[in-house]
């Protein structure tokens, strides 16, 4: 036996004081009412006879005082919250983890979802546990990790706040005071569990046809030619006829019926050249599908338009020729002395020149530009540098090869925060770009076109086009999964395609918002807009039948006899005794 609210000594002291006080008060209680009667002769006979005959008469006072002491002790010790392990069970801390991966949203044969089953199992575990048992409730998404508590209401609220989301699942760390760990899961996501974890399965086999990939990408032939890449998997045990529909903002659509074998997949590209720019939606329909979250996917198709570009140069034949040939560029050429900041242009290209203050629009700097206070400083000259590495995954360097590009001379740039797109083997940057979040963007070439054969290479026009695209054209949508989403825009306003605003909050240079369902979202900050395509698109979650807890059975919950803490029964007992004492007192059975 132990006490949750007091130490053993404190509880004993409380009991002693209570018992002493009750005994003292019992003997100090109000004197009996005096009543004069004609004669006590007959009363005397009755009382003498009763006292002589009844053991109860002798014990009555003792029993009354005992009852009073017991009532007092029950109340006093109830305050100390006693706990008897075999009577009330546990008292230990349990880490109760619910798997919140999206596969938990799969519908089961009885119409409920795996998640609803998991919540019911969790509540069942909590309800069946010992009243003094502590629960720390957490999910695998890292969104909820409630502090350990015995308050059943708080525990239930924490469980009810949880919901399945995408993200990198992780199992909460078990602290030293945790005695039991219970994990309620469908086993689709495999996690490293602490030793001794009791895994309770809510898995039930389910059919699912899912879009596992959907993205818009530019073709290699043109920066403004896009195609949609789509992957569909049938994770069910039966062949499925699946209807695929891709629809665009301008009413264009592609429809196809696919026959997917059990475990089979479809992957292919769809030409979107006839689609207007805007949101693109892909949906599949297959009978008996258990998870709807992966039946829809969204993407964004950038809108075609020419970029109004200002070239500031003293003469650059390569650049002028290239830009004039580009149908997506509306070119204006001026001398450096004529330069005035003009926000009506979409982009600037400065050849061997840099204004003292940052231009209002994105800019490409070519050649040895003078030092300014807003661009990386030059600190010397590099003789015959060679491109050693370049960032192929950066939009500016996509499809651009710098192999065999010769450089006669370049400026040695002191890089502070900029992205290095190409550098020498000595890590001297040769091409830099502004940080991702910085607006307006810029790209800096640390060498003049006169000192290189780069314009003669096939990668040059791609590089210029990529740079203009990255700086001034609409970007492709960010790809995210349902859950908490971050956008690299500070204090952006987030809306759905239909204009409904979503609650968002800023965290540093990021804006966070929660998207529970697939969709296309628009984050806007001042004049910068970023599309976010939220799709489940995950073979990991969509494969509902790949489980590690197939053989797990619901685990039995160990609990004591009593469903409430002992103090509850003690107070109830005290109340009952008080009622009995009151009744017997007023009937003169006790004194």
């Amino acid at each position: 036996m132990r006490f949750l609210a007091l130490t053993g000594i404190q509880a004993a002291l409380l009991a002693l004081i209570t018992a002493g006080a009750i005994v003292g008060l019992y003997f100090l209680k109000l004197r009996h009412r005096r009543l004069v009667i004609a004669s006590s002769m007959l009363w005397g006979r009755v009382l003498d006879e009763r006292q002589a005959q009844s053991l109860w008469e002798k014990l009555r006072r003792l029993i009354s005082i005992l009852a009073a002491v017991v009532i007092g002790l029950l109340i006093a010790l109830a305050v100390a919250r006693p706990e008897i392990h075999w009577l009330t069970g546990g008292g230990e801390r349990t880490l109760l983890v619910l798997d919140t991966s999206p596969s938990m949203l799969a519908r089961t044969s009885d119409g409920s979802t795996r998640w609803e089953r998991a919540v019911a199992a969790a509540l069942r575990t909590v309800n069946a546990s010992a009243p003094s048992s502590e629960f720390r409730v957490a999910d695998t998404a890292g969104r909820i990790d409630a502090a350990p508590t015995t308050d059943r209401r708080e525990i239930r609220e924490a469980i009810e706040r949880m919901k399945p989301v995408s993200g990198t699942p992780s199992f909460p760390e078990k602290d030293t005071e945790t005695a039991h760990v219970r994990f309620i899961t469908d086993g689709v996501v495999s996690l490293a569990l602490p030793r001794g974890t009791v895994r309770e399965s809510v898995f039930e086999e389910a059919d699912n046809v899912a879009i596992t990939a959907f993205e818009i990408r530019s073709t290699a032939t043109s920066a403004l030619a896009y195609e949609a890449y789509l992957e569909i998997h049938n994770y069910g045990s039966r062949d499925r006829e699946t209807h695929l529909a891709i629809s665009g903002a301008g009413g264009q659509h592609i429809e196809r019926t696919l026959n997917l074998k059990a475990g089979g997949e479809f992957g292919g590209s769809f030409d979107l050249s006839k689609f207007e720019g805007g949101g693109i939606r892909a949906t599949i329909q297959a009978g008996g599908d258990a998870l709807s979250l992966d039946d829809t996917a969204f993407a964004y198709l950038p809108i075609d338009r020419t970029a109004k570009t200002l070239l500031v140069t003293n003469g650059s034949p390569y650049l002028e020729a290239l830009l004039k040939l580009d149908p997506l560029v509306d070119l204006t050429i001026i001398k450096p002395g004529q330069y005035q900041p003009d926000p009506s242009f979409d982009a600037y290209i400065f050849d061997g020149f840099a204004p003292m203050s940052a231009p209002p629009r994105p800019a490409l700097f070519v050649g040895e530009v003078p030092n300014t206070n807003w661009l990386p400083q030059s600190k010397g000259t590099l003789a015959k540098p060679r491109f050693a590495t370049w960032a192929e995954d950066h939009p500016v360097m996509r499809y651009v090869s710098l192999h065999d590009v010769a450089l006669e001379r370049a400026v040695q740039i002191e890089n502070m925060e900029a992205q290095v797109l190409a550098e020498t083997s000595d890590h001297a940057p040769l091409i830099l770009a502004s940080p991702e979040q910085q607006r307006p963007r810029w790209v800096l070439m640390a060498f003049s076109l006169k000192n290189t054969d780069f314009p003669l290479h096939s990668g040059f026009p791609l590089f210029v086009d990529n740079a203009l695209g990255w700086m001034s054209r609409e970007a492709l949508a960010l790809r995210r999964q349902p859950g908490v989403i971050s956008v690299p825009l500070a204090q952006a306003e987030v809306k759905r395609l239909n204009g409904d605003r979503l609650e968002s909050y800023a965290r540093g240079n990021l804006t966070m918002f929660e998207a529970a369902e697939p969709g296309l979202y628009i984050a806007t900050h001042e004049e910068t807009r970023q599309y976010v395509a939220v799709n489940l698109a995950s073979p990991q979650y969509s494969n509902l039948n790949k489980t590690v807890s197939l053989k797990d059975a619901p685990a039995a919950v160990t609990a004591g006899w009593l469903q409430q803490e002992l103090w509850f029964y003690m107070l109830a007992g005290a109340a009952l005794l008080l009622v009995v004492e009151w009744l017997t007192y007023h009937r003169g059975i006790t004194v």
């Binding site: 009412r33 005096r34 009543l35 009667i37 004609a38 004669s39 006590s40 009382l47 007023h586 009937r587």
Partner: protein, 295 residues
Amino acid sequence: MAPTVSLFDDEFLKKLEYLSILSKRLFAGQLKAERRAMRRGTGLEFADYRQYVAGDDFRHLDWKAYLRLNKLILRLFEEEEDLPIYMFVDASQSMSYGNPTKFDYGRRVAAALCYIGLSNLDRVNVVAYANKVKGELQPQRGKGRIFRVFKFLEEMTTGGETNARESFKTYCTETRRRGLCVVISDFFDTSGFQSGLDILRHFKHDIFILHVASHEEVDPALKGELVLVDSENNVSREVTVTPSLLASYKAEYHRFCTDIESYCSKYQLGYVRTVTDFPFEELVLKVFRQGRFLK
């Protein structure tokens, strides 16, 4: 005590005048009255004949018998004398209990009986007793003395413990004529009610008992923790009055009354029990007549 006289209205007193106290036995009286005596005398009712002897009152000779029989035969008549009535009123402290008090109720009954006795020219003695004789009204005779009786009763006070044996013994050992003893009491006598009545029986008195009780004694409405204080001796007892204890008390009280009644029945004593909330007139006019104490 409220003036006793005022409690007897004229109509009630008229009714009382038609009543007379019955005695089961004949007692020798002192003065001529309306009650048949043991001896032959000068009354109006013929009783017997006997031979004339010298010295007899020749006015009672039956001259017609002498003419027929030539013998002097004397006619005898019943003597009518008064009846000595001793009215013992318990004036112990326990009689002051109840509402109205048993003492007041007993005094009113005593006053009524005295009035009946005086109306019938009986000799009425009133004795107040507790642990001894507290007061005595000398024998009164004739209706005109009723106010003395009232005054005596009015001046009586309660106090002390009950000891009927000592009181009756003191009173009866003085030279007294035998007569009718009316004992009005609650009989809460720690030495036992029998001992007092035994004394009266010993002196060959005819005894009539009026057992007065209060409603609070018969059916006490007590409850809870109490200290019961005896009004006579101030002895106190702590008691928790429970329904079962009350039932036991009532059984004890019933046994107590039954004992008195049995005693009276055994020795052919008149016995009437009443409670103080029983209508006084009804007690006197009906109950006493039904109990053949009055006619």
